[in-house]
Symmetry: C2
Subunit: 354 residues, 2 copies
C-alpha cells in the first residue's frame, strides 16, 4: 500500500495545498485542503504538519497561496512587500525549527532578485521554488540515510524519539530514513519508539510509519528508555534535530536531552540525523536557541480527558537542547560529523556538494 502523501500541491500555481492531518493519526487518515496563508499558519501552529523539514516545505507552498491573493494590477514591488508580510506571518508560527525561516527566506530572496518580474509570474516562480525545496529535501533524506546506515548494525536495537520519518520531511525523513535504508538493505534490527509526551508523536506517528513498512517496532513510554538500555536491548539512539548551533548543541523535541544523557550513562552512542539546513551557524551554542513554550493543556488535558487538577502550574517546553559533548555523531546529507566539534561541523557543511 503506497503511503498517503504528507504534503501535496494540487494543480498549477492557481491550485491549493493538501496536508495529511497528523493530529488525527493513527486513528484517521484525513487531509486538510488549504487555500490561504492563515490555513497554513494554523496547520503549522497546531501541528497538523510538523517536523522541521516538513514545516519548511509546507511554508514554501503557503507563500503561493499568498501570491494568489495579489490583485492583477498590483505593482511588483508592493506585491513582494505583501509576500514578505505573509512570509513573516508564516515564520511566526513556530520559533524553534530553523528550516521554516530558511525556506521562506530562500523564496523571498528569489523574488527580491527579480524586481521586474510580472506579478502574474510570481505564483509560478514560487511554485517552482517550493517544488525544488520539496525535491531537494527528499534527496537530502536519501543521502542522510546512506551516510547514517553504518550506525544500524545487524541485530541492533535502535531507540528513537518523536517522529523523524516521511511525515516529518519532504522525503523519507532524517533518523527514520536511516532505518528505512537499513531495512531495504536487509539488515535485521528492532526499534524502540519513545511515545514522546506530551503529544505522542512516537506512539501515534513513528509506530504507524514503521509498522506500515513491516519494521519491528516496540512502543515504550519515555520513562522506559532507561531500563531498556540497562537491559542491553539498545545499541544506538538515533534522533532528528530542529536547530543545531555552530558548536553542535542540538535543539530537538522535548525528551531528547534525557535520551542523550541516559545513552551517555549506559555507554550507548547517541546519533543526530539532520539536513545541513537545520544548522544555524549564527548561534555559537545551544543557549541562544529560542525554545517554544506550548499550552499547558497539552499536558493536563491531552487526548480527551482531564488528567491534572484545574489551575495546577505546568512547565511545557516543546524542545530541549542536547549539548554537543553527548552527541557521538551528526549525520547530514554532506557526510558525518564526528567527533562533534565546531571545526568538523564547518568542514562538513562547507565542503563542495553535488
Amino acid at each position: 500500500m503506497p503511503r498517503p502523501p504528507n504534503i501535496l500541491w494540487i494543480g498549477d500555481a492557481t491550485g491549493h495545498l493538501q496536508l495529511l492531518d497528523q493530529r488525527q493519526l493513527p486513528s484517521c487518515v484525513v487531509n486538510l485542503e488549504l487555500r490561504d496563508v492563515k490555513g497554513v499558519y494554523d496547520a503549522i501552529r497546531s501541528l497538523a504538519v510538523r517536523g522541521a523539514p516538513a514545516i519548511g516545505v509546507a511554508a514554501a507552498y503557503g507563500l503561493i497561496l499568498a501570491a494568489q491573493k495579489i490583485p492583477a494590477g498590483e505593482k511588483t514591488e508592493s506585491a513582494i512587500l505583501r509576500l514578505q508580510e505573509a512570509a513573516d506571518f508564516l515564520n511566526s508560527s513556530r520559533p524553534t525549527a530553523v528550516n521554516l525561516s530558511w525556506s521562506l527566506r530562500r523564496c523571498m530572496t528569489l523574488l527580491q532578485k527579480a524586481p521586474s518580474v510580472a506579478v502574474s509570474k510570481i505564483g509560478p516562480m514560487l511554485l517552482e521554488e517550493a517544488r525544488a525545496i520539496h525535491d531537494e529535501d527528499a534527496r537530502m533524506c536519501a543521502k542522510i540515510a546512506r551516510y547514517g546506515v553504518q550506525f544500524v548494525t545487524p541485530g541492533a536495537g535502535v531507540l528513537t524519539h518523536c517522529n523523524t520519518g516521511y511525515l516529518a520531511a519532504g522525503g523519507d525523513g532524517t533518523a527514520l530514513a536511516i532505518l528505512y535504508e537499513a531495512h531495504r538493505r536487509g539488515i535485521p534490527f528492532r526499534v524502540f519508539a519513545d511515545e514522546t509526551r506530551p503529544l505522542l508523536q512516537g506512539a501515534r506517528l513513528t509506530t504507524w510509519e514503521l509498522s506500515q513498512e513491516n519494521i519491528d517496532v516496540t512502543l515504550i513510554t519515555d520513562s522506559m528508555a532507561a531500563p531498556v538500555m540497562a537491559q542491553r536491548k539498545v545499541n544506538v539512539a538515533i534522533v532528528g534535530a530542529d536547530r543545531i548551533a555552530a558548536n553542535g548543541d542540538t535543539a530537538n523535541k522535548i525528551g531528547t536531552y534525557s535520551v542523550a544523557t541516559l545513552c551517555h550513562a549506559h555507554g550507548i552512542p547517541f546519533v543526530v540525523a539532520a539536513a545541513t539546513s537545520s544548522f544555524d551557524l549564527s548561534l555559537q551554542s545551544g543557549d541562544a536557541i529560542p525554545i517554544e513554550q506550548r499550552d499547558e493543556r497539552e499536558i493536563t488535558r491531552g487526548f480527551g480527558s482531564q488528567t491534572a487538577p484545574d489551575g495546577v502550574a505546568v512547565y511545557n517546553p516543546a524542545f530541549d537542547v542536547t549539548p554537543a559533548r553527548l552527541i557521538h555523531a551528526i549525520v547530514t546529507e554532506r557526510g558525518v560529523v564526528t567527533p562533534v566539534t565546531p571545526e568538523n561541523i564547518r568542514a562538513v557543511i562547507e565542503q563542495n556538494y553535488n
Copy 2:
C-alpha cells in the same frame, strides 16, 4: 478542607471497606464500598487503591470481608484454611510491592497462633490487626517525615515521581510525607512532579494532594526532568519504593531508574523514602525482584483515545529497579541508610525500635 480518607473501614467486624477510587482523581472524588474479597482484589489490581503501603492496609481489611463469609458452624481450622485461600488470592493481585504479602502474612500468622479461637472472634481479631497495621503505617509515615526533612533545604527544588503521599499510605505517605513535614515547618521549597506515564499518578494524584495543602508544585512530563535538572532548578529527588533488596537495589514505579540516572549525571542526590516493611532481605539484589507487566492498553489507549496503531508491540513494565549505587540515602522510620550498603541497611532495620 479535610482531605477525603483513602482507606476507611466502616462499622464493626460486620462492616465494610470504603476506598477512595484513585482511578477517578482528580476529576471526581468517589468512594468504592466493598463487601467481598473479590471487590478488594479488583480494587488493588485495577489501581483504585495503589501505593505499596496503602495496598498492604487495604488487603488486611479485605481479609475481614472473607471472614464474614465463614458459616457460623465452621471449625476454626477450616476457617483459617479458607482465610489463607483469601489471603493468597489477595496476594496475587499485584506482584511487586512487598507490603501486600507482608501485611497478609502478619494477619494469617496471628490466626495461626490462635488455632482454638472461636470462629465468631476471627473477624474482630482481624479488624483489630488491620487497624493496628493502618495505625502503625501512619506512625511510620510521620517518622519517615521527621528523618527525611533534612533533605529539603530552604529554597530547594524537589523532584518527585509517581505518588507517594497520603493516597498511597496509611498516613501522610513516604516521599510526600517528608514534603508535608517541611511545609509544616515553614521551610520554603518548590516541587516538580513527574506526570508518571502511563497512568499519570504524578499528574492526577501528586499535584492534587500538594495543591490541596498549598505546596508550590509544577507538573512536568517525565521527559522534562532532565532539562529541569540541567537548569539547576532541582536540588534533590525524593521517591518511594515498592520493594528494596538486601543490597539496597530498589524497585519503584517505572521511570524511577531514569530519574536516578539523570540525578547521577547532574550531581543531584537521589533519595528513597520507605518503611522498613518495604525491605525484602530475602533478596540479595534487585535482579530477583519480580516486575509486574501490565496491559498494553495503558499505553495505547489511555484516557479515552487511541494513541497508537492497532496491533503495535508494547513493552509495559509497571516498575523498574534502581541500583543501590545511584541512591544517596534511604529514609526509613528507623533512621537514614547512607551510604546505601547491605551492612548499613541491616544496621538500621535491626536496631531497637520504639
